[in-house]
């Protein structure tokens, strides 16, 4: 990676991190940005005692993992659409494959693998260090709530980062 690219990546990271902190429930859970690409986003949920469902067994509640994956999925749609335009989660399915290791940071990665005029289709996984050994598998659909004006998408895509 060249120094200029490194700088751009850092700037983008700071911008998205700032955006994420502005979402109150993400801030409450501690969800943070890790990275993104053409059609994917990766977030993390660091361990915190208030995320536990069962303190006796150190078991994390599944709600925060759902929130992490909903957020990562939504962000992958924003990124693929190249615009922070409104959308709504139509449905989201999470399969809980296993419990995270005690006190592990949970990483959530989602990709928008298909986008139509009205709907974005997303899939993703959550893991605690090894993507080949996931904690959860996710599939979801998002609906665009305000249709983009013709040409708006292309304009957004061309806009400088």
């Amino acid at each position: 990676m060249t120094e200029a690219e490194d700088d751009a990546a850092r700037r983008q990271r700071r911008f998205v991190q700032h955006f994420m902190r502005g979402v109150p429930h993400n801030a409450q859970l501690g969800i943070a940005y890790r990275g993104s690409g053409e059609n994917w986003a990766e977030l993390e949920l660091p361990f915190a005692p208030h995320l536990l469902a069962d303190p006796d067994y150190g078991v994390m509640a599944s709600g925060p993992i759902f929130a992490l994956m909903d957020t990562a999925s939504g962000m992958s749609v924003f990124i693929t659409r190249k615009a922070f335009e409104p959308h709504a989660t139509l449905d989201l399915r999470v399969d809980y494959l296993r419990s995270p290791r005690p006190e592990a940071t949970v990483i959530g990665r989602a990709e928008c693998y298909r986008m139509t005029r009205q709907i974005a289709f997303v899939r993703g996984i959550a893991h605690d260090g090894d993507p080949a050994d996931p904690i959860a598998n996710v599939a979801g659909t998002f609906m665009f709530t305000a249709p983009s004006a013709p040409g708006m998408f292309a304009a957004a895509a061309k806009a400088p980062a």
Binding site: N26, D54, A61, D70
Partner: protein, 144 residues
């Protein structure tokens, strides 16, 4: 999972906070018995917001998962040791915007098996007949 305290509260009281669960305390959840069973309340708080003016889908799903869990606990035979109850799959349909106000959720058992319990939950705000979200949750039951 299933903190024993959660089950004790559901079995012995008619209403109360879910402050024995750290995540329940975070969302300030409480439960209450009604004619149909048990429902949970998630009082509105600014920290529950996702996009401006709307509840985060994750907070609604988290509420529905615990409402489903409460429903599975109350369906277990009284007087027996409680099994370990874990959600295995959850499918959530978001049907209406979650407004910045109090939210309720309750579940009904579709099938009570010994190893798997299938539950349908809904979440609503002002009008129970107009749910903001619904979820199918399948719980795996491990007996001690």
């Amino acid at each position: 999972m299933t903190a024993a305290g959660f089950a004790d509260a559901l079995r012995s009281g008619t209403a109360g906070p879910l402050d024995m669960l750290p995540y329940g305390r975070l969302l300030a959840l409480s439960f209450a018995r009604d004619a149909g069973g048990v429902h949970l309340l998630m009082p509105y708080a600014d920290a529950l917001i996702g996009s401006p003016g709307r509840l985060h889908g994750g907070s609604i799903a988290g509420l529905m998962e615990l409402a489903g869990m409460a429903c599975v606990i109350t369906a277990q035979p009284a007087g027996e040791p409680l099994p370990r109850i874990r959600p295995i799959t959850i499918t959530v349909d978001f049907m209406r915007e979650g407004a910045a106000r109090d939210t309720y959720a309750a579940g009904t058992v579709s099938k009570l098996g010994r190893r798997v319990v299938n539950v349908r939950t809904t979440a609503w705000q002002a009008d129970r007949a107009k749910p903001i979200a619904a979820a199918n949750i399948n719980f795996l039951i491990d007996w001690p």
